[in-house]
Symmetry: C2
Subunit: 202 residues, 2 copies
């Protein structure tokens, strides 16, 4: 019983550190967030951090997974949601990034922010971020392929190439939305994608 209580309390502090730490890192940046800032936001003792994470980078990698788990839910509900027409799904996916709740808020996308911060030191984080961008590209390609099959886009579209272009242009638009404190760059991306790059067939 005692062991169980201790276990639950450890889990709970770990959860608090990840949940509140993610917010701190998203707002201030990874390097600018000290372990002291993170445990203070989580309301747990300083020593708790090293009980749960071997290093700040180990914590950073878990923050990435936590943030990406949320992106995966969004992708399942939009890009990979076969119940809806394909191009509408892509529109919905881009549009949600303009909301304050999503990565298009004034804080930018945490995955893009961390990529910008990864210098030579944080190479494990960079490699994981690169895998994640590829995985997002696959979800966009899945949606574009469905649009081609549905006759919404031309059959000769290079879905994988265009998908990776969309992922990188989306990251750039979110970054400039952060500079501008406005979703206008994301709205511009939407317009260019749906009126020029993915001109509908009918």
């Amino acid at each position: 019983m005692d062991d169980h209580v201790v276990h639950m309390s450890r889990l709970s502090n770990r959860e608090k550190i990840l949940e509140e730490g993610l917010k701190v890192v998203h707002e201030r940046g990874f390097a600018a967030s000290s372990v002291r800032d993170i445990v203070s936001a989580a309301g747990v003792p300083l020593g708790s951090f090293s009980n749960h994470f071997a290093s700040k980078e180990a914590f950073g990698k878990e923050v990435i997974e936590r943030y990406f788990a949320n992106s995966q839910t969004v992708m399942r509900d939009t890009l990979r949601n076969d119940a809806k027409p394909p191009l509408a799904r892509l529109k919905e996916y881009i549009a949600q990034s303009k909301t304050k709740e999503a990565c298009g808020g004034d804080q930018g996308c945490l995955l893009g922010n961390l990529t910008a911060e990864t210098g030579g030191a944080a190479d494990a984080m960079r490699l994981r971020l690169n895998e994640i961008f590829a995985e997002v590209g696959e979800a966009v390609a899945y949606c574009l392929e469905a649009a081609v099959r549905a006759g919404e886009l031309a059959a000769d579209l290079d879905c994988r190439e265009v998908a990776r272009f969309i992922v990188s242009s989306h990251q750039g638009a979110i970054l400039l939305a952060k500079a501008e404190h406005s979703p206008a760059p994301i709205a511009r991306l939407e317009h260019m994608l749906f009126s020029v790059v993915l001109r509908p067939l009918h």
Copy 2:
């Protein structure tokens, strides 16, 4: 004479701090670069930093100007260089960002990196970065307008909107090139721009 020597030596330390400090910040990120790291790279005494900069953010703002001065030279030689055909200038501008020397190297664009790092605290830096992205957009628009006048692009092209889209997509491609440690995302942008977005008239 003594005053002059002192003045030159002060200028010189300031120059060293900016020149070497820019490299440190580009490699490690702004928050991750301590004043101690910066003066150590510059080979000047620690106290020299506060003789020349009121704060680390004041230093950061000068680093931005120094980096952007170099971008302006590139823009003058390419986007605004009336001696060359307009679309070739845009191609050259994007292509140079794939070189190791430019922002497309594995360290990303310093302006994009700093944008990603600017949380609530560094708002003066963010505002300046936003102005700079707008200025780059104007140089790209200048080049697109020349391409329209030269008959290289359709007369109804919304040059300013497309220019801002190019700037944000370029930032995203440079960011993903940093994640991938490869210029492939920038090459993909080139292909999409010149084969789809700016389909030549002939």
